[in-house]
Symmetry: C2
Subunit: 595 residues, 2 copies
């Protein structure tokens, strides 16, 4: 019962010819040919071709003929060269094959619900998730998990090297004000009381700074009980870090070097540092979003002044009611038909913009039904400001800033996808800085933190806190990669008076402040060093490393969008005794239909 | 607002003399002496002495006189040698001091509830836990957390090197049969259903083997809702690993090398490998426990046959009712008074053994009131079998095996502590092997797994499963260090038929099997490789590395024995809306009294 191998299935090559080896693995494929049985033996490292020849062992050849897909076996045999012209250069082990001397069947297999050995099969995701253990065996998810391991390992190596300590913070925690809904855990020892699973280790890591721990990190599991969008999971992972006595610039360089190390180690890509920086204001102005995808152009240009001087009354009306007029240039877009362009109008209407005005730049000049509203001089200005060349298309939109930016951001990305303007294998990192400290919640019209309430105001703007809080910039920064926000951080408040003022501005009552943060404000009073930090979305980074659009492809056992684990069939009902122990009652019981 | 330092407070030495530096940290101690102010500036790396001299800067000297304990500051100054004879060899920075040129007060501090700068103060643990952020700042816990980081890092480096992949498994999981009570998490999306926090990643890691992931590990957070003993926490950490196509011997060597690496990296101790091995039967026979502390002697010797031939009716009566007679020798124990020895009788009575018979070995021979029951020949046999020398004490106990072993184990350890027989700085590792597969639950008289139900029977004993299950040995092993079980593992069952049989032997109904493990037994049917694994108690290992008896000393934010976080004041009541979202009601509400 010695199950050891001498090699895995992805290792043997011409240098091993003549060696006696023991291999183990799964039966990937079988071909019977001229009295011989050929088997591709598979493990996570690769495939190795086995030959069963009745002239070598009749008994082993016979046993081999009983082998079926996905049976597990162990063989001993001799490595030999493949016949002349039979080498397979696509395979790591393509130069050799194994002449099998003995075979032990370790475990049989039922026929899998989907093929393990065909790469391109159309399996519905629910079935894949139900049989996740087989889905991983198929190889793609396995590769992603290997890469994820490498990313964790590179992160830890890098941060350890830089003097950061990994410190584990509690999972049975207390509600922190991250804005989302908490997962709760009833306490048995103190009935009626609950722990909350942490939405982030924010308070814990700031307390570690107060403790003097100086440079902390954690690859932390975090939890949010939200209605899930495609790229969300109820539990997700962040690279969480915090440091004292430093500056945002030092942190930027640290994160840039860390990302370089991760990309180099995981996908052998050298990324350019330092990363570009852009203020929140510029990002909103030029891309309509705080996470611009800078892999392609089509920056927005404000043409309020041109619109003002034109005869285009729709634009001028927008300006009168406080709206803006912005345009962007689609390179080569003059080839688009009127119908195609009309679809852009339909597209932006979903976001509340009435339409898209457009002008094609032909050899002879601008053409379209709205050209007549602009003088030649204005058209020249448009041409110059938007850098328009013959064959381009200019799109003009007008609305209130918020709606306009959202619509134009979506339209810009839509066109980029449609016209295949997004280059493959390009990684555009961008720091977005100088976020506003506060925003107005569009639903409640109340002031709220743009980041979280521990974010420090910009040192130059502290005097504005009382008089004009919406003008206060925060010392907050996001890291954007290819249009995704992959990290968010800030300088924290280390002065308890400032912290209290922020809570007051957020209209938290003294009681709420005391209940939620009382001990934390108290802690700030005991010698808090200046500190700052960041949290990176580790799942998102892995999605980009693995070139997938689904977060479920980079997590071993993900949940569905209904927050269910189809393999384990969780959540599930529990025994009445368990609820009794916790002194809780269930008001309503949903029977989950597992397929 | 540039908060960067040039050095930390534990770095500067004679080689830096003359350099201009920027340091930051906390005011540890202050002395005013001859018009000068001396301040020990502290961070987690050490202490550096600052000198404020009014002749250098009157303004800075004045500012320094306002500094109080634990205020945070940043200074610039020049490194200079300490005066003749004033060097402090106990301090890393003891050769130098800083002539301060400018001082910036970064943050003030209230007077801490206990002293940060005095090492030996008697602070009650509740106060320490309430102000954990200050307790960590005091230094001892900080050192333990640094060591814990090093242990995690050494573990990951070692296992990565050996080809293991770290794969994160879910926290929102389903109940697994580890025997303890689960923490439950109500589902909002499927009301009335619950997730369970994992007691271990056992099923997930076995599924990863079925997936072909081959070599898995995780430094995993696990959860048990138990009534806490001193060394337990509701959430705890294990180094969890699993491998396919291997043998227990290969796993032993892997773990031994890993422990060597951890001990070398964390406390610079070289541990001897390979570790000793002992069968469960020998451990019980010679030490009365499956986790013997082998740092000291006093092994037990069975003397049933000698008792049988003696006139000692109490012992003979025990033998008649199926009991055993065992003895052990306390080196130099003849010096103990009768009253001291009588206390051993009181000690063992708590465990259900009536008394301790004893004989001192004096120059002239054995003495005591029971010597008369033994012939000279029997006394010689006792002397020889127990290796008794002049000045030793022989203790004899008799009872049913279970009670006898427990009492003798406790007595042996009690005497070792009392007589200071346990050497400091010694690390005795021991593999305990060949555990029984099943045990009888003393309460219910039902058969239960000694380890967990996925443990493979010993390959030689499979035929005994039907006829005599209690005789079946498991392919299970524990790693014991200095009398603590620090790891537990086994070869797993990879045959679904054997797995089903084990469940049946455990009297799990078909329905229970289906509900609890249905999908797992199903998974075993799709080509399961032989696999085995182990889980190491990471907190316990850290306790030993940090030489502490309290698990709370090696965790950043531990819970009390009532499973409460005194700093965060968790668990806590939640808003009615939160419960409404989850469709649960609270039957009973405990008001927690926070001190």
């Amino acid at each position: 019962m010695d199950y050891r191998r001498t090699h895995d299935c992805g290792t043997l090559n011409a240098s091993n010819i003549g060696e006696k080896v023991i291999l183990s693995g799964w039966m990937h494929r079988r071909r019977d040919h001229g009295g011989l049985i050929f088997i591709d033996l598979r493990d996570r490292y690769g495939l190795t071709q086995l030959i069963f020849d009745p002239r070598i062992s009749k008994e082993t050849h016979e046993k081999a003929s009983s082998l079926r897909s996905e049976w597990v076996m162990s063989i001993t045999g001799k490595v030999r060269a493949r016949g002349e012209g039979l080498a397979n250069p696509k395979l790591k082990t393509g130069e050799i094959e194994i002449e099998v001397e003995s075979l032990q069947i370790l475990s049989k297999s039922k026929t899998p619900p989907f093929s393990i050995c065909d790469e391109f099969i159309d399996v519905n995701e629910e079935l894949r998730l139900k049989y996740r253990f087989l889905d991983i065996r198929r190889g793609k998810i396995c590769e992603n998990l290997v890469r994820r391991h490498q990313a964790m390992f590179a992160t830890r190596n890098f941060l350890n090297e830089k003097g950061f300590l990994e410190i584990t913070t509690p999972i049975l925690a207390k509600s922190t004000p991250e804005g989302a809904r908490d997962y709760l855990v009833p306490s048995r020892i103190s009935p009626g009381n609950f722990f909350a699973l942490p939405q982030s280790p924010q308070i814990y890591k700031q307390l570690l700074m107060i403790s003097g721990m100086d440079r902390y990190f954690q690859i932390a599991t975090c939890f949010r009980d939200e209605d899930l969008r495609a790229e969300r999971q109820p539990e997700f992972t962040q690279i969480d870090l915090e440091m004292s006595f430093s500056t945002p610039e030092e942190l930027f360089q640290l994160v840039e070097d860390m990302m370089s190390s991760i990309f180099k180690n995981c996908i052998d890509v050298t990324i350019q540092t330092p990363f570009r920086k852009m203020s929140y204001r510029d990002a909103m102005e030029e891309y309509g979003t705080d996470k611009p995808d800078t892999r392609f152009g089509m920056k927005f240009v404000r043409i309020d002044d041109i619109a003002e001087r034109s005869e285009f009354s729709i634009l001028k009306d927008q300006l009168k009611t406080g709206g803006s007029v912005k345009a962007f240039c689609v390179k080569g877009g003059a080839e688009l038909s009127r119908r195609e362009i009309d679809r852009y109008t339909e597209f932006v209407q979903k976001f509340g913009v009435k339409g898209v005005a457009w002008m094609k730049r032909e050899e002879a000049g601008f053409t379209s039904s709205v050209v007549k509203f602009f003088s030649q001089e204005l058209l020249k200005e448009i041409q110059k400001r938007l850098d328009v060349e013959t064959g381009d298309l200019v799109l003009i939109l007008a609305q209130q800033d918020g709606i306009l930016n959202q619509a134009m951001d979506h339209l810009r990305r839509h066109i980029a996808k449609e016209r295949k303007l997004i280059p493959k294998g390009v990684y555009e990192f961008l720091w977005v800085t100088e976020f506003p400290m506060f925003a107005i919640d569009p639903k409640t019209q109340e002031i709220e933190s743009e980041h979280h309430p521990f974010t420090s105001p910009h040192f130059d703007d502290i005097h504005l806190l009382e008089q004009d809080p919406l003008k206060v910039r925060a010392l907050a920064y996001d890291l954007v990669l290819n249009g995704y926000e992959i990290a968010s951080g800030s300088q924290r408040i280390h002065d308890s008076e400032v912290q209290k003022k922020i809570f007051e501005l957020l209209n938290l009552s003294q009681e709420e402040i005391q209940n939620k943060f009382g001990f934390f404000i108290e802690a700030l009073l005991y010698g808090t060093p200046p500190h700052l930090g960041i949290a990176l979305g580790f799942d998102r980074i892995n999605m980009i490393l693995s070139d997938t659009d689904s977060i479920r492809d980079v997590i071993a056992y993900p949940k569905t969008q209904k927050a269910a684990d189809l393999m384990m069939q969780a959540p599930s009902s529990v025994l009445p005794d368990q609820l009794h122990d916790l002194r809780i009652n269930v008001e309503e019981m949903t029977e989950i239909q597992w397929t």
